[in-house]
Amino acid sequence: MGRRGGRSRSEAKRAAVRRNGLRGGRPRNIDLFAQRVRNLQTELGQELPGIDPDDLNLIIDCLLRPVTQRKFFVYPLKGGGYAF
């Protein structure tokens, strides 16, 4: 069932597209994930000032990422370098 006038999106969604400039008006999942990491990093960074900010970012990334998306092993490649 379409909207009156042939609009495929609600006014709220159209406004969101204008606001954040993203297609469909919704941030990609990876953007939401990165935002969650940054928010938690900001909160914890104040409580754990002894931890290097880059390390803290990586730790939080691992904490929030599902186990199935984690990398475990590093593989040497024949032509040099490594793959994960």
Binding site: L48, I51, D55, L56, L58, V67, F72, F73
Partner: protein, 147 residues
């Protein structure tokens, strides 16, 4: 044979941001278990088990080997009969977390035990990862406090 995943894979499963080149499984030291290594290598389609000596015995004397390495097509699998820190399999298993691994329950050593074992092993490669492991534990403890 009921083992517990230890070492860097356990650290990664406990949220530490790192990578590794092998899998360490602690199975305890029983003659019955040692006899099963050939069968395990066969089940993993790996090469014949090779003895590895992680650390001399508690009194500084080398003892019988501490584990075996089974080289597989994917990664080397180290099956350890003893680990540094003089922790028993029961101790480690009591504090382990269980993960679902393709429908099978996989026991994974706690981050505290991984740190304890690396502190006791005290090799260059253990000392290199201790800071990030301790930081990860601090973050997890801080988050647990907020719950």
């Amino acid at each position: 044979m009921v083992g517990v995943v230890v070492g860097n894979v356990a650290a990664i499963l406990n949220d530490a941001p790192m990578l590794t080149r092998d899998v360490d499984i602690f199975v305890g030291d029983r003659p019955r278990v040692r006899k099963k290594m050939d069968a395990l290598a066969k089940a993993l389609a790996g090469a014949a088990p090779q003895p590895i000596l992680e650390k001399p015995g508690a009194r500084g004397r080398p003892r019988t080997y501490d584990g075996v390495r089974i080289t597989t097509a994917v990664v080397p699998v180290d099956v350890l009969f003893r680990i540094a820190g003089e922790m028993s399999l029961d101790d480690i298993r009591a504090r382990a977390k269980t993960f679902d691994f393709g429908g099978e329950a996989l026991a994974v050593a706690s981050l505290e035990d991984v740190i304890r074992s690396k502190e006791a092993a005290d090799r260059k490669k253990d000392r290199a990862v201790l800071p990030i492991l301790r930081d990860t534990l601090a973050v997890k403890n801080k988050l647990a406090e907020r719950m």
